[in-house]
């Protein structure tokens, strides 16, 4: 029997993509727009991720930040924190990267979120994957009820997608609220953790779905605030971070108890993981 007798595709083989845009967003974050060289659509849903390869450096997982309603290319935002991300920050428009994916579960934009009021709760880089769902919802505005976007960052300078705020708030029944941990001289907005935006908030728990993505410490407190509004676990969706090294449920790195974040997540219904000990810390 020869070595090719499986006839299977190599799950570890990236396909090539070309950067259409590579632009700095903040001091640490860079925006990328890319297109598969095959000419095909990536075919993702909001909340999924890809594995990005930089030739000779390595591979790392990144959330897709654009909505599939935007066709022809897809977008990512990458913080400069490690080998692969550092190399990505040196890439310019026209450069090549390798892509595997999309992988994982997605926000239920076509199912449970449809027809509902939506509360998006984003902390820091959590805004990146959630933006995919926000844009999807706003591009299909009639399919959803009231939309509330809560966005918290450490400082005003770390806020992402400021150029999109005007378009967001110009839509009907969309609220966009920001907070920062520490303001600066020009900041006149809310100061405090993200739950300070939720103290006086009212939702109709029977027809509201909440979506949360942020640093690990944020989830517990955001969920407690949602409980106070009467929301229940089955209507809360979280996107969790782990090191999804292989993306295909083999390498073991992203495991949360018995779950593989790369396959069973990264988007989980909170009711499904509320009892999973390692999930929310």
């Amino acid at each position: 029997m020869d070595s090719t007798s499986t006839g299977w595709n190599d799950i570890y083989l990236p396909e090539m993509a070309t950067l259409l845009r590579s632009e700095p967003m903040t001091a640490d974050e860079r925006f990328f727009e890319c297109k598969l060289d095959s000419g095909k659509e990536l075919g993702h849903m909001p909340g999924q991720f890809v594995e990005v390869s930089v030739l000779g450096i390595g591979e790392a997982p990144f959330s897709i930040s654009s909505s599939p309603t935007q066709t022809g290319s897809f977008q990512m935002v990458v913080r400069n924190v490690g080998n692969v991300t550092h190399a990505m920050h040196g890439l310019k428009s026209g450069d090549k990267i390798g892509i595997r994916g999309p992988f994982g579960t997605h926000f239920p934009v076509e199912d449970e979120m449809r027809g509902k009021d939506i509360v998006f709760i984003c902390g820091g880089l959590g805004r990146v994957p959630v933006r995919s769902a926000i844009n999807y919802v706003l591009d299909n505005r009639d399919d959803y009820g009231e939309v509330t976007i809560l966005y918290g960052t450490k400082s005003p300078a770390e806020r992402l997608f400021l150029d999109e705020v005007e378009a967001i708030v110009s839509k009907e029944n969309v609220k966009y609220l920001e907070t920062v941990d520490r303001g600066d001289e020009e900041w006149t907005g809310n100061v405090g953790v993200i739950t300070t935006l939720m103290t006086d908030m009212m939702v109709d728990p029977r027809k509201t779905v909440a979506v949360i993505c942020g640093p690990p410490v944020m989830f517990k407190f955001a969920i407690m605030s949602l409980y106070k509004m009467g929301m229940v676990d089955k209507n809360i969706f979280v996107s969790l971070e782990r090191h999804m090294k292989c993306g295909v449920g083999k390498c073991g790195h992203c495991q949360i108890d018995g779950l593989y974040v790369c396959q069973d997540g990264p988007v989980f219904r909170f009711a499904d993981i509320a009892e999973v000990q390692e999930a929310i810390q």
Binding site: M1, W8, L55, R79, K96, V248, G252, H253, D257
Partner: protein
């Protein structure tokens, strides 16, 4: 192997399990070249594994399921398809084996040929076409009669009794339920406070298959390889993500995770089979002497 006289089928246990023939310690997955992108590398040719013990064969069949289910791994499966496996029933008992408790002192599936030493001769059985082809090369060998088969049965019964260097009181089938109630059990802290996080238990385990993937550039700076290496959930950085955030930073959390994988998580993916085959290598390899699954599960079965 160059000489048949070098063959030692009476060995007690190998230092490393045969997993390295299917998932090598350092395995090229892809090659890459600037301007050309990535290409799959599947380097394998037909090979014979001679003298695999039954518990290791069970582990191989478990890994077969893991690597072929869902997103099938063409690198592993290609190697596996190229392998002809000759299992030999255990002749000498290794220091820490407990396969007699795990139902892995003998094995019914996965092999092409089974050798069992009966009296001073080997009883040979083939299971597959490849096995039959190997056997057809044996000249003038008499067929085993019922008496020989009965003697082989006695070898199995004897192995079931003597491959028990540690007395397991908790039936393997109870492990998933024991773990269901054991998340906050004090044993994890008690054992793990002696753990050096060296990963030896991972490396020698026939059912540990977690891996890391790395890139290496050749000296020409235009081409290179992506390869995978063995990794281990006991190593401190295993669950670390960027920003210096470690989701399993405590030894106890890592130690517990390993036993949950063996007794609960992996079994849930392979039809309930316990992902510990009782080879005892972890017990021998652990410098802190804390890695004995028998001790752990006996303790869990005995309450707190």
């Amino acid at each position: 192997m160059t000489k048949a006289t070098n063959l030692r089928l009476d060995y007690d246990v190998t230092i490393l399990p045969p997993k390295s023939f299917f998932q090598p310690q350092n395995e090229t997955l892809l090659s890459f070249q600037r301007g050309k992108g990535y290409r799959s590398v599947i380097e394998t040719e037909p090979f014979l594994l001679l003298g695999v013990h039954p518990y290791d064969m069970v582990a191989i069949t478990q890994m077969d399921e893991i690597f072929s289910q869902g997103n099938g791994d063409v690198h592993y499966v290609s190697r596996r398809q190229n392998a002809t496996i000759v299992v030999v029933d255990v002749e000498n008992v290794s220091p820490d084996v407990f396969a007699g408790h795990m139902g892995t002192y003998k094995v019914e599936e996965g092999w092409d040929v089974l050798l069992t030493k009966v009296a001073d001769q080997y009883l040979v059985e083939s299971k597959t076409e490849r096995g039959a082809a190997l056997m057809s090369s044996l000249a003038d060998v008499p067929d085993a009669d019922q008496g020989w088969l009965e003697m082989r049965q006695l070898v199995w019964e004897r192995n079931k009794g003597r491959l028990r260097r540690h007395e397991l009181e908790a039936e393997p089938s109870t492990w998933p339920d024991l773990l269901e109630e054991a998340y906050d059990h004090p044993i994890w802290e008690e054992k793990a406070k002696l753990c050096f996080s060296c990963g030896s238990c991972n490396l020698v385990c026939p059912t540990c298959y977690c891996f890391d993937v790395r890139d290496e550039v050749h000296w020409d700076l235009v081409s290179g390889e992506r390869f995978r290496v063995w990794d281990g959930c006991m190593l401190v950085n295993f669950a670390k993500v960027s920003g210096n955030l470690n989701f399993r930073k405590d030894e106890a959390a890592r130690y517990r995770h390993r036993y949950y994988r063996k007794g609960k998580y992996v079994p849930s993916k392979i039809g309930g089979q316990i992902a510990c085959v009782g080879c005892g290598r972890c017990i021998t390899a652990c410098v802190a002497k804390i890695a004995n699954p028998v001790e752990v599960f006996n303790r869990l079965a005995g309450g707190r």
